[in-house]
Symmetry: C2
Subunit: 155 residues, 2 copies
């Protein structure tokens, strides 16, 4: 079954290029042996820089399941997730991830995946996009309010 | 102006907790000295694990601008971005990012930010969510098709 699901993710990637809709990336979410959601990169088609295949598929799967977690689901993606999508995967918490092409393959095709992986561990002040701290003390009040709130939904 | 924009991001975070809508996180996108989009965490409210404040604000800003890039925009976020949001920021390519609370503050309030930062540099086989390679050769065909496509929109 693994190869069948990955074959579908790769077909979504290929169709996305051929249709001119977006980049060469596709993903599917599987639960109980069946595909419950699919996604392909549509960053330029819908003007959304977060619309990578995995994010599109995760959001669609959560809509289908009516939940904000992908418990007991597997994700098959035609390419190793970029840092954004890897972060989304950790928040969605699927059981397993299968990937085909690598981040280095994506970089060789002109995508920033490897560059972003290099940027993340850097101290904020050394990153290519300048990141500056401001008003930390004031922001901590929101965390205190969160911790003091009874009956909140953790995520 | 910096403090005014951050104050708004923090107010969004605080309002989000008080209304019970979601976590203690808010963000705004600024262009030409004005806020063009706002976001607050609504992961549990809309069943979308990617609906962090920064992602919500980036998507709204791109909708407002009709573009998939935040060129010459600044992002003010009430907390240092998690890896997912930091990745989204690199793809959106704003000019600057200002953050208030730190990733460690978020971790102290019960959020996975620091854990995910620790996971990202690990080899795929050592990560807490198992990530397995599969069918790389087949997936490379989609990259070749992308590279061979004339007139494509890079992103």
């Amino acid at each position: 079954m693994h190869n069948e699901f990955m074959q579908r993710a790769i077909a979504l990637a290929m169709d996305n290029v051929r249709s001119g809709r977006g980049g060469p990336f596709g993903a599917v979410v599987v639960k109980d042996g069946a595909i419950i959601a699919e996604g392909a990169n549509c960053v330029t088609a819908v003007n959304d820089p977060t619309a990578h295949a995995e994010i599109v598929a995760i959001r669609a799967a959560c809509r289908a399941l009516g939940t904000f977690q992908l418990t007991a689901c597997d994700i098959y993606t035609s390419c190793e997730p970029c840092p954004m999508c890897l972060g989304a995967i950790y928040w969605a918490r699927p059981a397993h991830v299968f990937f085909a092409a690598t981040a280095a393959d994506a970089a060789a095709a002109g995508f920033d995946d490897s560059f972003i992986y290099e940027q993340l561990p850097l101290p904020t002040e050394q990153r290519k996009i300048p990141m500056m701290p401001l008003m930390r003390e004031q922001a901590l009040a929101a965390f205190r309010a969160w911790l003091d709130t009874p009956g909140k939904i953790p995520y």
